[in-house]
């Protein structure tokens, strides 16, 4: 049997069911590794003591019908966890201990999983490198001083470094798929409305979705099956029959029509990414898929649209952090001064920037010029995809325009940081499912990902295409454990 922490979710689950491993052994193995991995700065809050107690409790009376029987899982610190501090990577929630549980995490525990702890992320999920976190940046296990992507950077790093078998992140403009691409892991953003947003710290409510981040496609299908559910507590949750994603997983993609959008060939894209894409296309052909050239004419307008819509929604959502009912409070001579100082001291620079953008585009006299305009362009972007999906079953693109960059490299130029999400943002604007799978490496040996985009509610199809491609690509993420301490 291979080392516990390097096993996939599928292997761990099988080993528990066959009684070859106990929940306690597995839980302790991850905790032991985490203690030696502090250099990566992956955890904001750990739940190790309680996790060991829960694993013993599971072992004393194991329910092997569960889909995640006694499996320890760490989650992004954007999910409210009952009784466990939830910070969203922000000073303003530094001391916040929820008295309720998010629906997607509840779905994990209801299937036997155990909370290992809360993972670092960009503040309020606003960032593409995990550098906006109040709790400091995260090291990418792929190489020293590299960012792990963001905003689910602690999550992607935790999966790549074998600090959790799988995890869940959130994706508003690429926050699952971009970090997955940067760390050689798999990340899926489901269709808007698939996974409940209840209990997730809100960023941009019309774009936010939770999704699985895993070592491979099969694990991804297993985790999606657990977290995707209809929920009365989320008014935009959609009631439809979900697939048994892991049972229906298949490499047979013969005859599937896969679209290649010419607009994703952007200026200054490294040759390696162009080559990665070509390889992906030829693997898809080898699997019997039909390749079709398509056009998504408004692709170039997606990022500017996103940087109106997302900050506008964020400025409204973050209005609740006023120091009155929970979270950090600064002192002031009067109520207004208390609000202003609390928000000034409690939020970091990127969050403030986005609140300011959002406040401006929604302010009197500018609403039509910016917010309404962006909503109209969003319609055009969605229509591009509707048109494309009348001809194809899925779309294949690179996940990101570059591999992981150095810590500090882009922090002084917000716009260059925003460009990271050029291939992922359109999918959120259109509410579609998208998955990033590791597909190769660049000249520095850093991972690169390919993205498969599907029709609404067609997660099974993009999982199957990814499963077939994964088999052909045969990616190996040889990480050296350079960060381990004794």
């Amino acid at each position: 049997m291979s080392d516990i922490t390097s096993q996939s979710l599928f292997e761990l689950t099988s080993n528990i069911k066959e009684k070859k491993l106990s929940s306690e052994e597995i839980t302790k193995a991850y905790i032991n590794r985490a203690e030696k991995s502090k250099k990566l700065n992956i955890y904001i809050t750990d739940n190790f003591e309680k996790a060991i107690d829960q694993s013993k409790k599971f072992d004393s009376n194991p329910n092997l019908d569960f889909k995640l029987p006694g499996i320890p899982i760490a989650v992004k610190d954007l999910f409210c966890t009952n009784g466990v501090r939830t910070t969203a990577g922000s000073k303003i929630l530094n001391n916040f201990v929820p008295t309720y549980e998010s629906t997607v995490t509840q779905n994990l525990w209801s299937q036997g999983a155990i909370l290992l702890g809360k993972l670092n992320c960009d503040e309020f999920a606003m960032g593409s490198s995990n550098e906006t976190s109040f709790f400091g940046n995260v090291q990418n296990p792929v190489g020293e001083n590299l960012v792990p992507g963001g905003s689910s950077g602690g999550s992607s790093a935790a999966v790549a470094a074998n600090l959790t078998p799988v995890t869940i992140g959130t994706d508003t403009g690429g926050s699952i798929r971009q970090p997955a691409s940067f760390t050689g892991t798999v990340g899926l953003k489901p269709t808007y409305g698939s996974c409940s947003r209840y209990g997730i710290v809100a960023f941009a409510s019309s774009l936010d979705q939770a999704g699985p981040m895993t070592k491979n496609v099969r694990d991804c299908s297993m985790l999606l099956e657990v977290i995707s559910s209809f929920d009365q507590k989320d008014s935009t949750s959609i009631d439809y029959k979900r697939n048994c994603y892991s049972k229906e997983l298949s490499k047979d993609i013969k005859g599937k029509k896969i679209g290649i959008p010419k607009e994703y060939r952007v200026d200054n894209m490294p040759d390696e990414i162009e080559q990665l894409w070509k390889n992906g296309i030829s693997y898809a052909k080898d699997c019997g898929a039909e390749i079709i050239d398509i056009s998504l004419p408004h692709t170039n307008y997606a990022l500017p649209t996103y940087y109106i819509v997302a900050p506008a929604e964020a400025s409204s959502n973050l209005a609740r952090y006023d120091g009155v009912k929970y979270g950090f409070r600064s002192s002031g001579q009067n109520l207004i001064e208390m609000y202003e100082k609390t928000r000034s001291e409690g939020f970091g620079d990127e969050v403030k920037r986005r609140i300011m953008i959002g406040t401006y585009v929604l302010s009197s006299g500018y609403y039509d010029a910016y917010y309404l305009k962006a909503q109209k362009v969003r319609q055009l972007i969605k229509k591009d995809f509707d048109d494309a999906f009348s001809k194809v079953d899925a779309i294949l693109t690179p996940s990101t325009p570059s591999s992981a960059f150095k810590i500090g490299e882009k922090t002084n130029d917000p716009v260059s940081m925003y460009l990271n999400d050029i291939f992922t943002v359109p999918i959120n604007l259109a509410g579609l499912p998208g998955i990033s799978i590791p597909a190769g490496k660049d000249k520095n040996n850093y991972p690169l990902g390919l993205q498969v985009i599907g029709k609404p509610f067609d997660e099974q199809n993009i999982l199957n295409i990814s499963y077939a491609l994964e088999d052909k690509i045969n990616f190996k993420n040889d990480i050296s454990d350079w960060w381990l301490s004794e």
């Binding site: 009155v324 009067n334 300011m356 953008i357 319609q379 055009l380 716009v415």
Partner: protein
């Protein structure tokens, strides 16, 4: 279009975030760069396009207006920044 210092101060007031002059100047530069990028949208004619207000093509569900959680007073007050078992405490509002 460019955003001047006065506008930055005005937005910060609306957003209830206090900024000093140094921060305001930095924000002015950042916001102008971002808006230059955003204004690419003006290239598009959207006169006859309907705004997309919801990506999930469903109408919101109705439900009965009923109380589902009871005795949660303690839970709600638990994270209150200033301790008081009965109320949220704020600076004096009425003289």
């Amino acid at each position: 279009m460019s955003i001047d210092l006065k506008t930055v101060k005005h937005i910060s007031k609306l957003a209830r975030i206090s900024v000093d002059d140094e921060k305001a100047n930095k924000l002015k530069g950042d916001l102008n760069n971002i808006f230059e990028f955003i204004e690419k949208l003006n290239e598009l004619n959207t006169d006859n396009v309907q705004a997309l207000t919801s990506i999930a093509e469903t109408t919101l569900r109705f439900r009965k207006d009923e109380i589902k959680s009871e005795n949660i007073r303690e839970k709600i007050l638990k994270n209150s920044p200033e301790e008081n078992k009965d109320f949220f405490v704020v600076p004096k509002v009425v003289e």
